[in-house]
């Protein structure tokens, strides 16, 4: 933290005056600004020596991110955001980064370059904006709509940060329903297997074996399928194999078991009909 610039006394006094009128309120988002609230739109000096506003009224979504040098999460977040910017290239979204004026410009430039960020970097002198919003965490993202209303707040996460910010922007762009955010924030469990999947697998194997007239192995596979999860397909194929082997009594029982699970199973219906027509052996 060494080497930070000291600011003129008048800046300090101005910041103190602003801070004295604000106090954190409880709730989601920045400590002092809830989602849905109107944001100020200060024009701040930029890293490249110019001046830029925090928000733009010309775009559908203005994203701003508070970050700091010497922090892995900030570098990761800036990289993720730059990837998002590229993904949304050509869409009405504006990105700006905000960094405390206490950091030497050289250190800030290093981080920005390492992250491949080419968007404006605003210098928050004496942490005035930080204090006004009640930022508290680094890095943290805010998204505002065209009217300058805060529509989303996301602090950094180790997992799925990019996915969540991208989805927030897509909601604001009208590409994603707000209701879809629930699945982004709580993705469905990624299971691999289920008894039903295992049962289908053995039915598929049994079909392949039966195609090669390997009745014994096909039946063995079907028994494994039925043990995993009974299905009409397994019972129907078992009936077919039994009928082909001349055991229509047993085949009928298998077809009935299939039809109990799925009364419309065509293999079982046809098999039962054939067995009834030919008579049970």
């Amino acid at each position: 933290m060494a080497g930070r610039r000291r600011l003129p006394a008048w800046v300090v006094a101005a910041v103190v005056a602003v801070a004295a009128t604000s106090w954190p309120v409880a709730g989601r988002a920045f400590s002092n600004v809830e989602v849905g609230a109107q944001l100020d739109n200060p024009a701040l000096p930029t890293l490249d020596g110019g001046r830029a506003e925090l928000l733009s009224r010309k775009v559908t979504a203005s994203l701003f991110v508070f970050f700091r040098p010497e922090q892995d999460h900030s570098l990761d977040a800036l990289r993720d955001l730059e990837a998002i910017r590229k993904e949304l290239s050509g869409k009405p979204v504006r990105f700006v980064a905000v960094v405390s004026g206490s950091w030497p410009a050289g250190e800030v430039r290093q981080v920005v370059q390492a992250a491949g960020v080419g968007w404006p970097v605003l210098i928050d002198q004496e942490d005035a904006l930080y204090g006004r919003l009640g930022v508290r965490l680094h890095p943290v993202v805010g998204i505002a709509d065209r009217a300058g209303r805060l529509v989303a707040y996301e602090h950094f996460r180790q997992i799925n940060f990019k996915e969540i910010v991208l989805a927030r922007l897509r909601v604001q762009l009208g590409e994603l329903q707000e209701s879809a955010m629930a699945a982004v924030l709580e993705p469905p469990k990624a299971t691999s297997g289920s008894p039903e999947a295992e049962a289908r697998r053995f039915v598929n194997l049994a079909k392949a074996l039966w195609k090669r007239k390997n009745a014994a192995q096909a039946t063995s596979a079907l028994d494994k399928s039925l043990a995993a999860a009974p299905s009409a397909a397994a019972w129907a194929l078992k009936g077919e194999i039994l009928a082909a082997g001349g055991d229509c009594q047993a085949a009928l029982r298998a077809f009935e078991a299939a039809l109990k699970i799925d009364p419309a199973d065509s293999v079982a219906l046809q098999g039962r009909q054939a067995c009834q027509r030919d008579g049970a052996h």
């Binding site: 999460h73 950094f156 990624a190």
Partner: protein
Amino acid sequence: MILRLTSSIRLLVVPCLLAAAPALAAPLKTEVKQKATRRGAQVAPLPPGPNVKWSHGPYEAGDCSICHERNDRANPGPLNVGSVNENCYSCHEEFQAIMARKFKHVPAVETCTNCHNPHNATERKLLGGEMVETCVACHKGIKAQIENAKVKHDAVSKGEKCSNCHNPHAANIEKLLIQLPFDLCVNCHSKDGMTSDDGKQMTNYKAWLADNKVWHEPVKAKDCSACHRTHGGDNFRLLVSAYPSTFYAPYENKAYALCYGCHNDKVVSVPETTTLTGFRDGSRNLHYVHVHQERGRTCRACHEVHASKQDHHIRDGVPYGPKGWLLKINYTKLPNGGSCAKTCHETKAYNNKTLTSSAPK
């Protein structure tokens, strides 16, 4: 699967408990992947033997033509369909949906036989080798973490091992996580009576969070890995970086690397502020006052890091003395700041609505 890891899981992540291991600085990055030669699994059938316990259905059925051109063990020829995976999916049809998930494991996309022997194996799921060995053959960074960790996590080596938390094929969450970290962690860390290797009692997090409704942001985000290195690490409680393990510690920035991974160090390190924190009397930064002493009060002295009953993650009390007598903090939130009734010190109030302190320093 993870539920099988009952009391054998010893390591929990409760930074508020006093722990023995020294806090060492470590990079926050936990995932370091390196490309390595894949196709580690042996594809040809293994000769019969006592360790060859697992056999693939078609191979067991003895009909090579289910997958190959010919039913000839000596010369089965190429596969019936173009790619290995297409061949596999003809029976394992659920994998078409699995592999349509957003985050895919590259070896699984390439070919199932990168990890599985399609004939028989000594390992469950027809893996070509023991699971952790198979995974770390490519994930060298994780291998180093697991091998070098002073603090081990049983979830890596017990039960389903890597598959306790990761889906090795594809998932809906980064790092191929089956669920968000918190949902995975509480599969084990939701029991009473679990102890860590140092004998400390570990928290039942489901119960704790149900009883304490002010949750820390990473907890709200189910992002345990923001603070904990799940494959193993050098810091107590698997913390990703340094955090004082004791109630008192002299202040230095690097000792709080864990907190400063997200929080602004200036909240604590500058003596005067009117913007960075509400815990100030006028412009006098009271975080600084508490922490910047030879016997500085560490974060844990006042804050409960996972969840608390009071705002600002302020804990009800702290264990004090050899018998763990609970010293109440007695914090009260006031319209213009707050106060702490006599416990650690005389009753003191602070006012953050004015620019100068009215209280004696």
